[in-house]
Each structure stands twice: as C-alpha cells, then as structure tokens.
Symmetry: C2
C-alpha cells in the first residue's frame, strides 16, 4: 500500500493544521473558536442567511451548527429568528456586537494571511487554490445513480 505520508487526506490535513497554527492562537485571544470565526465571517459577507445556507457555505453539518448558534447567541454575537411564513425555517444574522467583533478580528486575520501569502508566494498560492478547487469538485458515485460504477444500495435516505 502507499505510504502513509503519501495519503491525500493526510497531506490536506497536515497542510491545514500548519496554516491554522498561524491563526488559531490569535482567534483564541479574541475569544473565538475557529468554527465560530467561520460562521461570523460568512454572516458578515451575507448579512442574513437561512440555516441551511449558512451550514452549506461554512461547511458545517446541521447538528454542529445548531449547537454553535446556541452558544453564539449566548455570547450575543448573532440573532436567530424563525420565518413567519414558514416556522420551520430559521434566519440568522450578526448582532451589532457580532459585527464589531468581526471588525476587530478581520484586521488581524488579514495581516496574518498576507504574511502567509508572502512566505508561500502568490503564484504558488494561486496554483494551490486552483488544484484545491478541482479536488473540491470530485464527487463519489451516488448509490442510486445509473453511472458506470455501482456499489451497495440500501440507504434509502
């Protein structure tokens, strides 16, 4: 079998951890976890989002996001409210405090990012983004799909 250090998931994980080592200590000082920063950042960019949109964009599974919103609400950084016309749907937005927290954090994060960009090189960074974007597009065959390769079925959901 391929050597462990030639595993693509491991290479992606290790690279990400190295990058996060730049950001995480500063986020912690700002009283934010990495995932909370993801949510705040996405909300700042979109003003208001539905639950499922936020989950999708921030790459969080619904159960994780659900708990995070409870905690972010307790910190008074976000607000969530049900849509009147459909009580199932949830709308999430930053509070004024959330916006303020974003403004403080974003400066610092942007500074760190420029440092990384400089160390790594703009061109290589662009190449990396391009390849990562392609990888992101890969999709396993769907069990019910009439494609070439098929596997087990049975997860009706």
């Amino acid at each position: 079998m391929r050597r462990f250090d030639q595993s693509l998931p491991m290479a992606l994980l290790a690279a990400r951890e190295s990058i996060m080592a730049f950001f995480r200590p500063h986020l912690n000082e700002l009283g934010l976890t990495e995932q909370q920063w993801r949510v705040i950042r996405v909300l700042r960019e979109h003003d208001e989002l539905e639950f499922h949109e936020l989950a999708s964009i921030a790459k969080l599974l619904p159960p994780s996001l659900s708990g995070m919103l409870t905690r972010l609400e307790r910190l008074r950084l976000i607000k969530r409210r049900k849509r009147r016309s459909d009580q199932r749907r949830l709308h999430i937005a930053l509070s004024p405090e959330g916006v303020a927290r974003f403004d403080v954090a974003s400066r610092q994060m942007e500074r760190i990012y420029r440092d990384i960009e400089q160390r790594f090189g703009k061109r290589r960074l662009a190449s990396l983004f391009s390849l990562l974007h392609s990888a992101r597009a890969l999709q396993p065959d769907q069990p019910g799909q009439p494609s070439q390769r098929r596997k087990n079925r049975e997860q009706t959901r």
Copy 2:
C-alpha cells in the same frame, strides 16, 4: 476582507471533505472511523511504535490518541504495553486481528484511491502533493524567538 471562499483553510477543508466522502462510507461499513484507520495504517507500516511517535506520525494529539487506544483495545485491534525499563512509556502494536482488519480495508481503500487518482490526473495530483508539502513546512514565528524566523519545534526525543 478576502471573500470567504478564497480562504486557504476553507479551501483545504473543503477539498479534504470532498476526498473523504469517497472513503468514509466504506470505512464505516468496515466498522472503522477515519482516525482509527489512520492509527491502524501507521501501525501496520511501523510494526511497533511508542505513544508519542504514533501521535506525531498520525497527527493526533495525545488526549485524542489516549482515548482511541482504549477503544481500539476494546475492539481487540491493538495491544499496548508499558516498557519495562520505563513504566511511563507506552508501546503500541497491532494485534493479529488488527493486521487482518488492515488487510481487508487496505484493498478497498487502495481501489478508491486509484479511482480518485484517475479522475484527478496523476500529474495534477503530484503537483498538489508538492504544494501541500510546502504548505506543511510553514511555521508561525515563535513569540519568544529573535526576529529571524526559526523553528524550535519538537526535537523532544
């Protein structure tokens, strides 16, 4: 601020999730989590390792690994024993059942990997690995360090 989808940590995360979507369902069918598979794979490659070596290679923090070993031991996939000369140090090795489980899983994982490799392209995959390896080498400045960037990391052993 940069757009969220231009964040390097997010790009790495999203790419990794796309790749793991190929592997995870099959690991689950084999009764293994993603991290358990990491541990088994590393142990298969090294026969026997000390705790700290295993943690370092498999990119697991000691507290996570500690709990995992308890569960893997309960599943009878690994064995851990203290070194006689130093009762603090722990040695971990696969059990025969662990080896057998590896053998079953490795075939399937290798098959999936070749599928990914084919879809993504060997050359581009090699480029991606190269860039990821470079990213992995990045290290933030240490707070107490003189202004030149140095890495005072982990030559603990």
